[in-house]
């Protein structure tokens, strides 16, 4: 497992994965040219975290927008988190969405329902 930090761009989100802290942050817009290539490293690290990571895991997710293929990758990310939870670790998922962005909130609800994960929904004030 390694620390991952990816600066955000116009089409890719900020990624900050710190296995020592048990923290994953994803923030911004996600419509990469190749979504799976972008998310694969995170998926592999989460897979490993379920086996050999710490006892606490926190995910802070704050997307403004993500495209269809990113939504599939996010499903895979949450599936890995579900595995982390199944391995007996305490997991906290904070789903941030902009004030009034009901669509983004509902997307979080979909992931939460379908993967049976508890999300903390937090509204952010617009800049």
């Amino acid at each position: 497992m390694e620390k991952i930090f990816i600066e955000p761009t116009r089409i890719t989100p900020l990624i900050n994965f710190d296995p020592d802290e048990g923290l994953l942050e994803m923030k911004g817009r996600s419509s990469p040219e190749n979504s799976i290539e972008f998310y694969q490293k995170i998926l592999d690290n989460l897979e490993e975290y379920a086996v050999s990571g710490g006892e606490q895991f926190t995910a802070n997710i704050a997307f403004e927008y993500f495209n269809t293929s990113s939504s599939k990758c996010l499903f895979d990310v949450f599936k890995r988190m579900s595995r982390i939870e199944d391995s007996g670790k305490a997991i906290t998922i904070n789903w941030y969405y902009e004030e009034g962005d009901d669509d983004m909130m509902e997307a979080g609800e979909d992931y939460s329902d379908l993967l049976d994960l508890d999300f903390n929904f937090r509204e952010m004030e617009e800049d």
Binding site: N34, S35, I36, E37, Q40, F66, N67, T68, S69, S71, K72, C73, F75, D76, K79, D103, E106, A107, D110, Y111, L114, L115
Partner: protein
Amino acid sequence: MDKNHDLYYDEISSLRKFRTKIDSHAVYKEDLDDFSNEYEELIAQAKVITRVSDRLQKKLDNANIQIKEQNDEIKFKNIELKTTIDQLAQARVGRKASTIMLTVALVLFIAEQLLLEPWIDANIDIPFAGLGILGILFVVVKILESSLEKYFMNKEKTKILEVEQKQVEGWS
């Protein structure tokens, strides 16, 4: 098939493994359970992806409607702006033509009074002949004024077209 490039790498791998088991007639209940679980998960994925896509399409559709409305408004404002510019140009050109013609009329009036009027008084015995000539001069000046106005208006339009042409060339 490449793990880093295929979005459905895991799902396709599972399907291939299961098909291999079918082909080798080695399918156990456990395999069927695993496969049905994976199928269930695939349905869950399809559900979430469809919902997300629907939301994106809805956003896109709303944005398109908004853009169309804004375009219509811009077109309407452009027409209004063009009309106002035309009116302003018309007023400016009208003022210019009136000033020129007023000067011409004044020169003609002074010339008529100083040169023509004494000659008429001395040589023509028609009552109000001088007044008649002044009337004719007034009509001629009025006709000239509208012709001058048209000439200046055409000149103004050519100038605007030239400016627009230069702007277009600057953009391209």
